[in-house]
């Protein structure tokens, strides 16, 4: 399990005068779900495109499966891009057969049937893509990424556009693939999904690495936060550095010397407290803090 699937060293890329990736290094080991995080425009898609040799880096070195990039390695990688679409005028079968053929899949129709069954779209096999809903098309795109049983899956926002049932279905498929020893790189803004699914994460901001490691390691570097469920109007509270308020639920970051008991007393005076809990900060809080403080 310690086999390195991806080893990125000192990756740098600029467009015109804008530095998009700045001396970025990380590695992904076999069989892990690796979260690639960052705000919009941070450089996530650029990293993925460089890994797949769609664009070239200015400097740095990438090794995939222990080798320098080679076109044949593309057959071991499944990719769901963020900017995605399908041929609208052909059938699901024709479209998937074309993608499978490009990945050198033999007897592709059996595999197409297997995956269409798995995502519940077997009955749509001979339907034209243009007749499918957005969610269904999203699942067809995922099938296109899985069809050749890749060793490494790179999925850019795989849950966007899916309802909760389909989100669960995709998450279950990803976990099954992980159990089979596949490596998954997940680029998403859905922090709750990352928190529940990813073993390790890399967070980048403005092309630089800002967080890197396992979730536990990262969270241990941040102070516990207060979670409050309440009724009323929270307003400003003395001793609280920052409030992430959702209306009935809030995450509070306390100032250095503040006693949580004091905060509880103050809260009881101004709102009806239904839950009060000290917990490790969520990835969402960490993400916001890191990006805002950058």
């Amino acid at each position: 399990m310690n086999e390195k699937i991806l080893d990125v060293k000192n990756l740098t890329k600029s467009f015109d005068t804008k530095i998009v990736l700045d001396n970025l290094s990380f590695e992904v080991k076999k069989g892990v779900v690796f979260g690639l995080l960052g705000p919009n425009g941070a450089g996530k898609t650029t990293i993925i495109r460089i890994i797949l040799d769609i664009i070239r880096a200015d400097h740095g070195e990438i090794k995939i499966f222990g080798e320098k990039f080679d076109e044949n390695l593309k057959e071991k990688i499944g990719y769901l891009p963020e900017e995605r679409g399908l041929y609208q005028k052909i059938t699901v079968l024709e479209c998937l057969k074309y993608f499978a053929e490009l990945k050198n899949v033999k007897k592709s129709e059996d595999k197409i049937d297997f995956w269409l069954d798995k995502v519940g779209l077997r009955d749509y096999k001979r339907k034209k893509i243009e007749g499918l809903s957005k969610g269904m098309q999203q699942k067809i795109q995922l099938v296109a990424a899985f069809i050749h049983s890749p060793e490494l899956l790179i999925l850019d926002e795989p849950f966007s556009g899916l309802d909760p049932i389909n989100t669960k279905m995709v998450k279950d498929i990803l976990l099954d693939l992980k159990r089979e020893g596949k490596t998954i790189i997940l680029s998403t803004h859905q922090m709750d999904q990352v928190e529940r699914t990813c073993d390790r994460i890399l967070m980048i901001n403005r092309g630089k690495r800002v967080l890197y490691g396992s979730l536990d390691e990262i969270k241990s570097n941040y102070k516990e936060s207060l979670v409050v469920e309440y009724e009323g109007d929270l307003g400003r509270i003395e001793g609280v550095k920052k409030i992430n308020d959702y209306g009935k639920y809030a995450e509070l970051s306390l100032e250095e010397d503040t006693d949580p008991q004091e905060i509880l007393k103050r809260l009881i005076e101004i709102v009806g407290v239904r839950r009060f809990e000290m917990k490790a900060p969520s990835l969402n809080e960490i993400f916001i803090e890191v990006v805002e403080n950058a």
Binding site: D16, R49, L52, D53, I54, I55, R56, E71, K74, E75, I77, Y79, P81, E83, R84, G85, L86, Y87, Q88, I90, Y98, F99, E101, L102, K103, N104, Q141, A144
Partner: protein, 390 residues
């Protein structure tokens, strides 16, 4: 290479199955069939019926013939016309010899024809009868030139060409231009469509940009070649079976056809590369078409200057167009069909084309690779130079 063929097969099948492509195969053939029908049968349908022409002669010169009916006055002739006994009539006024003027009366309508040539022949017969000229001279006046056009090559030798040989350069030029332009237009639309439906990044995760571009060029080019071959074969069969088959006998077109295919392939590769350069960075088909305007103009330039090329195939303009990569395919082929073009000129034209294709292939591969993932940005010249540096 395997992936290039997979892409080529996909694009070829996707193109030839479209209604637009099938329509483009059938429509020119329907037009040709219609033209053959029109040239073969309409003259018979609209031919004049001389026995239905009446005349009122105020000079007393005309003699009734079996085809022309004499009327004593204008009123009777008019009555006969209105009652459809005759199709038309003419009045030869008393001062005809001084003025040469006659009045021709006919009923209007879509299918009515003016019997001018029949009347002229009838008047000529009567005028010559009145003269004292020798019979042989009379025949020569009736038919002064029974032409046989003989073309000489640069060495002064007689070139054997059929009477309709002049049609070949027009047909070849137009066919070649349409085939090159339609194939490269298909390519351009195919590239932009893949950008618009956002499948391009999925494809690039399976094969390289070069393989994708080569596959597309091969696929759309094969569709274009199929179009040319279907047109040429169908035109050949239609003309062979038509009443004009004898007119085309003796035309040596086999080597022109081989050259036509070579020029199609090279010309297509050049235009395809150029179209890929403008299509890859474009976000919509409209943007790409704006960028492709300059190439489209260059492609149709030989057709705009067609009359000059046909009239003077060795003129400076025709020679200059022979040495411009974008115009050489159509121009050289038209010139070859018209005159004996020196081998060194054909060799120079082909060399220029091959070099241009090689340069354009490199250029388009670079621009395609970078431009294909560019969304929502208008292409500028400085961007192109940047792609070339990357």
């Amino acid at each position: 290479m395997r992936k290039t063929f997979i892409v080529a097969k996909h694009e070829f099948l996707a193109t030839v199955k479209t209604k637009g492509f099938i329509f483009s195969l059938i429509l020119p053939l329907l037009i040709l069939l219609l033209m053959v029908f029109a040239m073969g049968f309409i003259p018979q349908m609209t031919s004049e019926t001389p026995h239905n022409i009446g005349f009122v002669d105020e000079t007393g010169m005309l003699q009734t013939s079996e085809n022309f009916i004499k009327f004593g006055d204008f009123g009777n002739a008019k009555k006969a016309l209105l009652e459809n006994e005759i199709n038309s009539f003419f009045v030869l006024p008393a001062n005809y010899f001084e003025t040469g003027k006659i009045s021709v009366y006919s009923k209007g309508g879509f299918f009515s024809s003016r019997p001018t040539s029949s009347i002229e022949a009838f008047l000529m017969d009567n005028l010559l009868r009145e003269s004292n000229l020798d019979e042989t001279l009379k025949e020569r006046i009736k038919e002064p030139a029974n032409e046989e056009v003989i073309t000489l090559n640069e060495k002064g030798e007689v070139e054997e060409k059929s009477g309709v040989g002049f049609l070949i350069p027009y047909a070849l030029g137009i066919l070649l231009m349409i085939a090159i332009m339609s194939s490269s237009q298909y390519l351009m639309q195919g590239i932009v469509a893949e950008k618009e439906n956002k499948t391009v990044e999925i494809l690039l995760s399976s094969l390289s940009a070069n393989e994708l571009l080569s596959g597309k060029i091969l696929g759309f080019g094969s569709a274009g070649l199929l179009q040319v071959l279907v047109w040429i074969c169908s035109v050949g069969i239609i003309l062979f079976l038509s009443p004009f088959a004898s007119l085309f006998q003796g035309i040596q077109i086999s080597w022109i056809l081989i050259l036509a295919i070579v020029y199609f392939i090279l010309g297509y590769l050049l235009f395809a590369g150029s179209m890929a350069c403008v299509a890859a960075p474009a976000s919509t088909v409209r943007d790409a078409q704006q960028g492709a305007m300059i190439f489209t103009m260059l492609a149709i330039l030989p057709m705009i200057l067609l009359s000059i090329i046909v009239k003077a195939p060795n003129s400076v303009i025709a020679k200059v167009l022979t040495y411009i990569p974008y115009t050489t395919s159509v121009t050289t082929l038209m010139r070859i069909a018209l005159v004996e073009v020196p081998i060194y000129e054909i060799a120079a034209s082909l060399s220029i084309l091959v070099i241009s294709v090689l340069i354009m292939t490199k250029l388009s591969a670079k621009i395609f690779r970078t431009g294909i993932l560019m969304y929502g940005k208008k292409m500028k010249m400085k961007d192109i130079f940047r792609y070339l540096r990357e």
